[in-house]
Symmetry: C2
Subunit: 343 residues, 2 copies
């Protein structure tokens, strides 16, 4: 019926008060009498009043919106991080808008711009690029004083707060676990792009070997894009070049899934002949046969931590806050794919 949008002025008119009073009442300003507050609220409901956040945001210069950018939202890890951010944000009456960079820097640049145009109050992002030149658009963000928080795929080249898990430790635990299962020829799948997280996992792998006096064999390391197909290719290469190996620690669950497929196709027994460990604890890892051992990155907690860092930055008075770094502890989830010994 009343298709005309009702504004605070309409409410004011009906009540013979001014729009300012209505505005204050709706915002629960303590200087407004309970009586008028109640009157305003009922009238607002009667007129089917819908607040216009755009107007408020324009006026206040803040939108109560946090933009979050992830490579892709259909990764369980990333959608769980989003949930973590939302939990904290919603509590504080902030909303979250999610964007995908779809693994390209170009998309990321476009998305950052969209968020900036939308006047989000801050941006939380897992980076898509690994080179210095891939970060230039974030200078624009920090320069504008928009709080920026990085998570998971981070860099120190942007001087801002970040939250990560201890990837080194996760990889170390994973590798050590394989060693304790009796594996001595452990292959490693890593990303060909040198993201910090993959470097750290690589480092953890190498260190664990070293600390257990197991020789590092470069030909057992395979680089790829960490997709299923990369895992397949790496595994085939290992098998076809008759490199001797009795385990694979992959920095990605998808790649280790590819390994499992190829090993099964070639009738290699898992874990007896080759034990497998992945990284991220994607839900499907518990659906495979045998179920896959993996490293839990605590994505919800990571999202919460990122949100908390964001609000710290937001509420900090000083322009230049010292960048904080939250480091979460990973957890090795042991499943049958790596269990050669019964306990």
């Amino acid at each position: 019926m009343n298709s005309k949008k009702t504004t605070i002025h309409d409410i004011a008119e009906k009540l013979n008060i001014t729009a300012s009073t209505v505005s204050r009442a709706l915002n629960n300003n303590p200087r407004i009498s309970e009586a008028t507050k109640k009157a305003v609220l009922t009238m607002a409901k009667d007129l089917n009043y819908q607040p216009n956040n755009l107007a408020a945001a324009l006026r206040k210069g803040k939108s109560q919106l946090i933009g979050i950018i992830v490579p892709r939202i259909n990764r369980s890890f990333f959608s769980a991080v989003v949930r973590g951010v939302e939990e904290v944000a919603n509590q504080l009456n902030y909303r979250v808008v999610v964007s995908q960079s779809l693994e390209t820097v170009e998309n990321e640049i476009a998305v950052v711009n969209t968020l900036l145009n939308a006047r989000v109050d801050g941006i939380i992002v897992s980076l898509v690029g690994e080179k210095s030149t891939d970060y230039e658009h974030y200078e624009n963000v920090t320069k504008k004083g928009v709080p920026l928080v990085l998570f998971d795929r981070t860099t120190t080249e942007i001087g801002t707060s970040q939250v990560i898990i201890d990837d080194y430790l996760g990889a170390y635990m994973a590798t050590e676990h394989l060693i304790k299962q009796g594996c001595t020829k452990i292959a490693h799948f890593t990303h060909k792009k040198r993201f910090n997280i993959y470097n750290e996992r690589y480092r953890g792998y190498v260190e664990a070997l070293k600390n257990h006096n197991i020789p590092f064999n470069e030909s057992l390391v395979c680089e790829g894009n960490m997709q299923l197909e990369d895992g397949r290719n790496c595994t085939k290469r290992l098998l076809d070049t008759d490199n001797d190996f009795d385990a694979i620690f992959s920095s990605s669950d998808y790649a280790i899934m590819g390994a499992m497929q190829v090993l099964k196709e070639r009738n290699v027994k898992i874990p007896e002949e080759v034990a497998l460990v992945g990284f991220s604890n994607e839900p499907f890892t518990s659906f495979t046969d045998p179920p896959l051992t993996s490293v839990n990155q605590f994505p919800i907690e990571m999202g919460q931590a990122a949100a908390e860092l964001f609000f710290e930055m937001l509420n900090s008075t000083k322009k230049k806050l010292i960048p904080q770094k939250t480091v979460l502890q990973p957890e090795l989830i042991v499943r049958a794919s790596s269990l050669k010994l019964e306990h």
Copy 2:
């Protein structure tokens, strides 16, 4: 440095023209000379101008934003639909904001309100409730003239456009496939909430049995929430009540995954003793052992179709457009979990 935000007025001042001209130039208005356009563009870049969409949206009364609401974003099906919507929307210079209802009507109501407050130009949603009273908040949406499009979990109780796959057909194909594999005692897992899609799948299952002269056995139908655990419980019940069954068609991939787990635990051979078919073609279905047969719902196409319906509504002059309905054809993806016969 120049922390002060630059506006079109700043650009205008520097160039000794007016803000309107700048606005027109930035919007590529044909009535502006190429010379001034170029001048404005360079000056904008020089001053690091960032357009304020909030202001434009407030002024124009439209935000170039589409809100999409899904039960949960970490379902591959839903995130793929989002991608489909984005593809069409971005083409037309619209952005998409994603919200999760997390399976509760209360959340959905809150989220709808948030989107309305944010003045999205339309809402695309997969419903979370199945009762009439669960839809009341959408009257608010349609009444305000905000285009609304439903997908997947839809209802005819809200008079608006929708896009679905032919769930009846998908279920029919799945069931018929099992019959052709020689199965005659086919169990069915369905949702205890009577969403239209589950009703249709149930109908397809029953019709396929009937058309092949296979008696319908009510005790082989099990209701639940369509999660993994529900599939486990249903399967245990079937086994423990020694109902004779040689196949399960589940309206959910997660539930059929639960079935697979229990059957394996009890050493029931898949597909020889019990053949399995799921619904949705979630990526993990190809990771299981044996891989799961499932029904492809073409989520990207569904998202695209939903976006197209939205833009039709948006561009329609008449207030009351006749609700459209797009029905996509499903596809049965046959994998080893249901293949008793070699071809």
